[in-house]
Symmetry: D2
Subunit: 450 residues, 4 copies
């Protein structure tokens, strides 16, 4: 292993499922070629005493919702890269059939994305449900999403019959496909919203939380899990936010190993009492402290499988906080702070282990979405996507340094402790000390149901 | 206790919660005045060796759906009386506010009903929900019904938000009010119906069963129970039909004593393979054998609390079996065979005890709906509603003998063993050997939330 | 019903399983001959507004442990009668075969006991286990007891193998027989006792509690329930005392309806911090407040089936409190305060209903031990054992008024509110205002496995 | 990585927790120095297409029970090595204090053992329990064993009080110590044995199974788990054999992550109907087919954590099958067939994955007993203990080829498919095609509680 392209020397390598090893990493042709030591390479990074994680996979982002899709492909994956994210899973959807126009969308990523990218497609119509086999076969897309509660005016709700039929379709295809579900009860939400609208012409972030109560999420989780148990498909709950849902998922998961749970780094960091006010308006909304603590506990107890961001590129001009609780738009950028918030609130403040971080932020997203072991670990043969971190580095967040097209951050002005100091993508050092230092070429990740 | 109005001598008196006692019953002023012996009365019935049950309470009938309301008040309560039913609970509903017009409906019962009668009112609109307190206060109606799945074209579905709000309203009022729920998932039903309509232009009774699958009921049971657990109200599931629902209710009831379960005597007697074919078309549909057995087991295990009929006056001309599976109307008359089917299939065929029969067909309906101990037991002070049975009497069912305006029976031509031989209503012998022998004056039962 | 032997007029009659009825009770030949009214009798008791319970059945007493058996038959049943107890279940045991010598013991009761009496026999040897069928058949004894932990030096521990074999023997005989178990783990007790003996030469009542920790009882409850679940026999836990046991029994009972739970009126009234100190030394020991509250809660939740006393005639001379924690003898008399403590602590202080009191202190003991409906209810044909109570009567306890040969009470000096004011045994008024006013003739109750 | 001591080229490397990677392994100084490729070494093994597992760790063997301890150290570890086992955990015990004489035992291993070895010590007396801290500190022994049921005449039973106290001792020390438990109910066993002795003077292997019924194990599992839940210690059940225990452990483990379960390769391969007859006499006994299937299912469901052998060197002369069911001695050698039986019955017959095999036979034993990641995985820095297997190799078992001092095998004459073809110990090729080809130097593994 002399004359590798790159050798990272003397790091503390965090291998999910194995532990932390003090070892060199050799890279050739964009892939990890060897672990061990002592290696020599044409380039060397001395990582003495630094922890090295597999590149972070954010399984849940959105692009092009409020801005230009191609432009956001560029800005948002760059923001991810600055924060140690090397792969993103992006939700796309609309009322029309996907095949064959979506191949155009895939083609657009070329030369634009600096992280690798894969897509999840929203299934909203019977036609789209029919397309699933060929979307898998011909486009290499193996994950699909159903909105039990959509966004009023934007995304329609899916009724139980259609939900269940889609589960059955997935179950027939097998465990290579995974169905993602946004779990809330639309009727409960609508009722609470209407009740509040009678008495509040405007409201705070905490009031917004009351428009979609915690039990609306828990109920939907119970119902979707029930249907999935009957149908036999793999089911993935996106952005779980409430303590009540976690409690119920603990029981559900112990009986059904095909159910997976995602939360987000913002839900682990922010409550409805945030000083950011309506800038933090989101769907589902931020919850009270007890839910944040329940989510962290669920990470320790293996109830949560993955952590995403639900990143939406959002600007003050679009968000329009000045329109008040009812008028402001939901969403926020979060890719640039994804890993730092977990290092700060999880590792440094709550003693979460780095092995756990690597598991929930890299290995399990890769496994669940069919990318493992190309992604998700540090092993010979895997893509050389790596992030070197400094647990003691403290930075006061300024959104201007985060690379996103968004012009605010939920964490602006807050000091976070624990940051990536180098991001290596496909064997190339692309970020150093939060600055781009190389040209990263991301690619579309075609998957198969094996 | 000499010179009672009536003394029933030497019967085996089945007292729910106590057991079977060989004792005389004395009646004065329409009420039971004494138990014991030896009493003498101006009239005497020698019941030596016969079992005497408290008058059967059918908590679930409909009147006036396909025929004239006032006319059916007369014919159907008469049919009940012939079969040992002395009190009925009748579901009424419509889109308009109930108050004050429903007092007219109550007034209509006078002189028409030969059993006692109480009403449950369907809550379908926010206005009706608002009326609840005064319906209780001024009309003495304390039970209300929500249709999670209505009847397409006739009764609208209730959405979860409205369901939950109504539960909360009930919880605030307290345990004197009870919310009845028709539990099915309307979207699952609609989806299965649509799928079947694509492939079947007509179908059998068994095919009809596939349009509303068992798990549609189970899911709704789980969801309504979840909401009731949160809200804290008393909840009563009408006409549970599927083994799957029973399984789930066993767990639910052990955790929440405020949940009650009704099944019907037809669901305990008939399967989807009935030789009656589409004449037995019903909503929910008849199920397979395993569900019938699960319901009987649930009776032994205290999962089922009450047995009703879901009686609808139905005629061949209205039912229109000739229109096939999709066109025939649902429903059937069942009051006249209510007790005989339970005596035949339960007591004689499966060894269900008469104490259990008295509990599920009289005491618990009375307790749950606020009529106990005026109704539901045999004790000094209770109304003298009694039914004397002959467990060995075998009769081949002929609907013409059952007193209903309906012109068929699910059991026509079938021999049932175990029949009432005398019905005593308010202390008066009104039915003897399936013939009316007295003029029975039923009354509206006004209830309060105590 | 004119000229009954006795008529109790206008009382509020508490009928377990039915409710509270305002009705007269007629008595003839020592049995209840009629309920209702208006009756006239040769004797009449005007009970206007007073609650009338079925005679209390204490299913758990001991006689002749420290004193003379025949003498205690006289004094202790008299004490019971003064307190409203009309039937006692007495545990007897010894190393020798019971048959045929135990018929002598039965014969001794004649003319001595003033309550009715039935016996439970301890099964300690294989020979005794073999005797069970003929003890049932020839002596009419259908309940037997196993000590998982005996009393060191007095009663041997039963090992699991023997316990399980006895359960199997019972299961074969059927549900007419019931096995009572003293549930504690003898090895845990011995270990904790030995540890404490190393450090304490004497100790308080609270220290005594530490010699038999709560979990020693819980573990034994779990183990015996496991064996009973396998064998299929009916199992009755005597004197359950700890919150931990209750918690575990809630789960166990929901899965196995053949398991029954007794607690005692002292365990519902007294904690290890009692001012009576070592006078309250007992096996199992008194517990902390949380256990007392858990027991009351278990009464409301139907986890506890019966309430006994575990009465042992005890005197200061025998108890020898002056010998300290290790030397004092266990036990106390409790029959005379049995009902008053439940009326005081349960009905008056915690709102427990009188129907519940009648169920746990009369109906269920009768049902479980095969005496129902001769005992345990107020119905035509039942024995006329009745107790009329005054819920407002307050008395400061003085053991000298309680009729026992014991010369102290756990409640001496304490004011209890709620007392029996008349006890009627076999139709005869025998106690009035805590004074014997008639000659009560108790009898041995022979049972069968029906 | 040129000139490594050894390079294993082109194998399919099974890394528990990661997956199967096609990669080279470089070894230096007895440890794995690098994974990846292409490496060159002074020695090279071409493993193209062969699976390479981490060296198998058998956590449960016995030495010196019926034969000479030192001699068996030599013969039995050699037998292990031939079968791919590179580390053994050996149970030792006796009535005397261990400290300081056990350092002699440790010293004896030097030059004798060809696998690495660690010891578990039986705790049978209070003195031994007191020694635990210094046995950890000074001898590096961190695992201890309690026999709830001993071997009559050889090993005494431990009573619950002592068991619980030892659990508490362990809980205070922390999660670095682990308590192993032989879980059977001695009283149930004694009772069943005595019953059978009354009727059988001799019996078959299946009869022997009846002397220690399945529920004897399940009950002990429940009881020990209950005590461990209270105390808070880590608990390891050795040699679980019965379906009933598995069922109960599924529930227990979901609530308590500190409970671990071992089964043995013989229990996964042999039933009580084995043609080997009393040669297979064992404690606990072999069970019926359903238990074997339940154990395999438990492996798939993560209820079983580790697989051992419970190897006892046994000879026909000592076993004395001719003495019949009651007289024959228990035990058998199983080290040499340990991995082949799992490859045959698990991988080849039931589709168990090799990643699962590596996890249960190497990683988890290492983790649970404090040897990870020195042992239990294939990673830079780990000991270079490796076993290369051929899943298609079929061999008819002949105990004469297995290297043990035992002179029979449970599998003599049976064809097993799936065998190790090379064993590498500390970087040295020591076994090739079931022949010793090198001098393996095993060592005592000193552990600490971290
Ligand atoms: Zn969403
Ligand atoms: Zn999203
Ligand atoms: Zn309905
Ligand atoms: Zn209906
Ligand atoms: Zn006891
Ligand atoms: Zn006792
Ligand atoms: Zn063992
Ligand atoms: Zn062993």
């Amino acid at each position: 292993m002399s004359n590798a392209d790159l050798v990272i020397k003397d790091g503390l390598v965090v291998i999910p499922g194995t532990g932390i090893l003090e070892t060199d990493i050799a890279v050739e042709g964009g892939k990890i070629s060897a672990l061990g030591g002592e290696f020599t390479g044409r380039k060397e990074i001395i990582a003495s005493g630094r922890y090295i994680l597999p590149g972070i996979i954010d399984p849940h982002i959105h692009l092009g919702i409020f801005g230009d899709l191609v432009s956001e492909m560029e800005t948002e994956t760059r923001s991810g890269l600055l924060g140690g994210v090397t792969t993103v899973g992006c939700y796309m959807g609309g009322p029309d059939p996907y095949y064959p126009s979506f191949s155009n969308t895939i083609a657009m990523t070329e030369g634009k994305v600096s992280t690798d990218i894969f897509f999840h497609l929203g299934i909203m119509t019977p036609e789209q449900k029919e397309e699933i086999p060929r979307l898998i076969e011909e486009l290499g897309i193996t994950s699909f999403k159903l909105y039990m509660a959509g966004i009023p005016g934007l995304i329609p709700d899916v009724e139980d019959g259609f939900l269940y039929q889609t589960f059955e379709t997935a179950a027939k295809i097998g465990d290579g496909i995974i169905i993602c579900v946004h779990a809330e009860n639309p009727s409960i939400n609508a009722t609470y919203r209407a009740e509040l609208q009678k008495v509040l012409t405007d409201g705070s972030l905490a009031d917004w939380s009351d428009t979609q109560p915690n039990f609306s999420e828990e109920e939907a989780v119970r119902r979707a899990s029930y249907f999935a148990g009957l149908a036999g498909n793999r089911l993935y709950f996106v952005h779980i936010s409430a303590a009540e849902s976690i409690r119920t998922l603990a029981a559900i998961k112990s009986a059904n190993p095909k159910i997976f749970v995602e939360t987000t780094s913002p839900y682990l960091s922010v409550t409805k009492f945030s000083s950011k006010g309506l800038l933090a308006k989101m769907v589902p909304p931020f919850r009270e402290d007890a839910s944040v603590e329940a989510l962290w506990q669920a990470i320790q107890n293996n109830i949560v499988d993955t952590i995403g961001t639900d990143n939406v590129t959002q600007t003050l001009a679009v968000k329009q906080v000045e329109k008040g609780m009812w008028g402001a738009m939901p969403g926020y950028p979060a890719l640039g702070t994804h890993l730092p918030t977990i290092l700060n609130y999880g590792v440094n403040q709550r003693g979460v282990s780095l092995v756990k971080v690597a598991e929930l932020m890299s290995k399990k997203p890769a496994e669940i979405f069919g990318l493992y072991p190309q992604k998700g670990t540090i092993a010979p043969g895997s893509d050389a996507d790596l992030v070197i971190i400094d647990l003691d580095k403290t930075v006061k967040v300024d959104h201007r340094n985060l690379g996103s097209a968004g012009d605010f951050s939920l964490f602006d002005g807050e000091e976070l402790k624990g940051w990536p100091i180098m991001t290596i993508k496909s064997g190339q050092l692309v970020v150093k000390d939060s600055q781009l230092v190389g040209q990263s070429q991301g690619k579309f990740l075609r998957r198969s149901i094996g």
